[in-house]
Subunit: 338 residues, 2 copies
DNA sequence: CCTGGCACTCTTCCCATCCGAGTGCCAGCA
DNA sequence: TGCTGGCACTCGGATGGGAAGAGTGCCAGG
């Protein structure tokens, strides 16, 4: 459709605009990029690109800026992913290696991403959906009060208090603990419900009520905690957004506070590979002038959660994508190790 | 020192400025407040207040605005704490009552505070320092691998993985679990070290190494987790800050990301009663144009952590203080119940 | 199909002006 | 002594008119 040179022009426009944050004109383009043609020619190309909707002018007689569609083409066809340099990789690895527990891994990842991309970083906690149960612990806190602790293979720990309908002896508790673990340890969350379905039947009549209560609390925990948590960081980078500040930043901050919105945002991203949502491609209105670069990460081959960054549509896509991909890869490694 | 009327004038200036966000002049003051004197008189009072450093003019021939010192006087002498209304109280209670676990309590508290005050809310997780141990659980995950789970009376759960120097049988583990709990359950964190000091001596020689390892991990957890965590929310409210935006908001966002700074900020606040730090009273430079209202909260009589809000020095102090106090009180109740 | 040239369009910047809010001070009055 | 009305003064912010500059579109010629 578009000639090779016109694509080059678009690429040059995107690069310059991302660098300078100012509309770029035909003359400046020919000076900074060796396109081998005159400004007048570039003007013609620009007119064509504008007709096609890839670029736009803020006002007559200002330079052009890329539209969302322009960025889209840039990302899809014109730009690669800029790989991290060796030292950068090592720095990432070192930084993440220092983490002591899951919270710390997530916290460090957020900081790292925010620093590398100089944008807002969002990291979802490893999801329970695809996790397996490592261990279920039951503690008797009072005769009719049990604490349920669920430990997952990703290192996450969830606890719930259970009020039992009847007192429950230590022996019964130990029994339940043993049977429960022999059934669910190492199994996937999704499989747990049917695995424990007939468990109460093996108990004395008087204990069945309690067993059922404990089990249903367990199932609840599995489901409830699927409302995944996430951590964000680097919001101070929002101040680099632009000059028309308060109007832009406000809805973004609001979106960032709404975990639901963010989770949806990450969730929409494709399951494998990197996803880039540009401007209006984001369903949430407040993020219409931002782009979201996200990718799944996980121990082993499978993605257990996602992470990404939120920044202005005018962002360095190759660099950002490179950083996001690299961080995801190393976080995956860390999780696999622990 | 200052006559009664001059204090009234200062109060009126603070109130008007907080309301309008614009420097307030003598004429407007006499119109909006019934001071019973003419603008000329007020002008004299203002000149005096300015000499004393309570108010200042942004430029000659603009109105006056309060200085940090002026706000200080206002808070100390001129303003009470505005109590929440009945419906407000009920709403707070309802909102917090819905929480399912500690994380949820904190999350809800943050949202609530941010909404009530329309400012940035900061809530520290209930501290371990003053907490007592409810239960210590030890789980054998592999022959030489133990998971340590610490449960506190505030409902907090911490877990650590322990790699043992030698395999450790289930029987020994149960033994250790029992002895450990009989010693530390219900005791304060600070007392734990000496309570477990001679514990290894009761074990077989071959197990002592493991016991020591487990114990030192436990002690580490107690200390490490004193690096308290906190949650913030309502950052979108920063956009209401002012017109000179990016300059003001940036350092604040940066401060909010530095948990260390925030913890220090809350930590500095007095242990009992509400603390208000105004503008330059805050040690951290980025917060020089903000005020921090904080208060301790806790189950029972004792404060286990702090919470507060960060907002512009030009804030509604009575209202903010009322909201902070009310929320702290109800959070304390919730914690006591669970 | 590319190029140089040219007229045209806007935005931005700068400056001069004006207006008004607010002050400080003073002389007079209770 | 303390309050008041009056008045001159000071700035900041808004208004408006150029002038400058960047960038465009179009056209005729190579």
């Amino acid at each position: 459709m578009l000639s090779e040179r016109r694509l080059q022009v678009l690429r040059a426009i995107v690069q310059d605009y991302v660098g300078t944050e100012e509309p770029v004109g035909s003359k400046a383009l020919t000076e900074r990029h060796s396109l081998g043609v005159s400004p007048a020619t570039v003007r013609n190309d620009m007119a064509a690109l504008e007709d096609e909707g890839y670029i736009a002018q803020p006002h007559t007689s200002a330079g052009r800026i890329p539209t969302d569609k322009g960025y889209r083409l840039f990302v899809d066809k014109l730009a690669g992913v800029k790989p991290m340099t060796g030292p950068e990789r090592r720095a990432i690895q070192n930084f993440l290696d220092g983490a002591v527990d899951l919270d710390d891994v997530v916290a460090r990842t957020v900081r790292l991403l925010a620093q590398l991309t100089r944008q807002v970083a969002v990291v979802q906690y490893p999801s329970l959906t695809r996790s397996t149960v490592r261990h279920v612990e039951l503690l008797s806190l009072a005769p009719a009060r049990v604490m349920l602790v669920l430990i997952t293979d990703t290192g996450r720990v969830e606890q719930r208090m259970v009020d039992c309908p009847a007192p429950f002896g230590e022996a019964s508790l130990a029994d339940l603990r043993a049977r429960l673990n022999s059934r669910v340890a190492g199994r996937r969350f999704a499989d747990v419900p049917q695995l424990v379905e007939d468990l109460p039947e093996g108990f004395d009549l008087e204990d069945r009520g309690t067993v059922s209560t404990v089990l249903s609390t367990l199932l609840e925990t599995l489901v409830e905690e699927n409302e995944e948590r996430l951590m964000i960081g680097g919001t101070a980078n929002l101040t680099r957004f632009g000059h028309d500040f308060p109007l832009t930043i406000r809805p973004v901050l609001e979106a960032l506070e709404e975990q639901v919105v963010l989770l949806k945002l990450l969730g929409e991203a494709g399951d494998s590979g990197m996803t880039v949502r540009i401007g209006h491609e984001n369903a949430y209105e407040g993020l219409n002038s931002t782009s979201v670069v996200s990718v799944g990460y996980g121990s082993g081959g499978e993605a257990v959660a996602k992470l990404g960054v939120v920044g202005p549509t005018r962002m360095d896509y190759p660099g950002t994508m490179g950083a996001v991909r690299a961080v995801a890869r190393y976080v995956g490694q860390i999780l696999a190790e622990s």
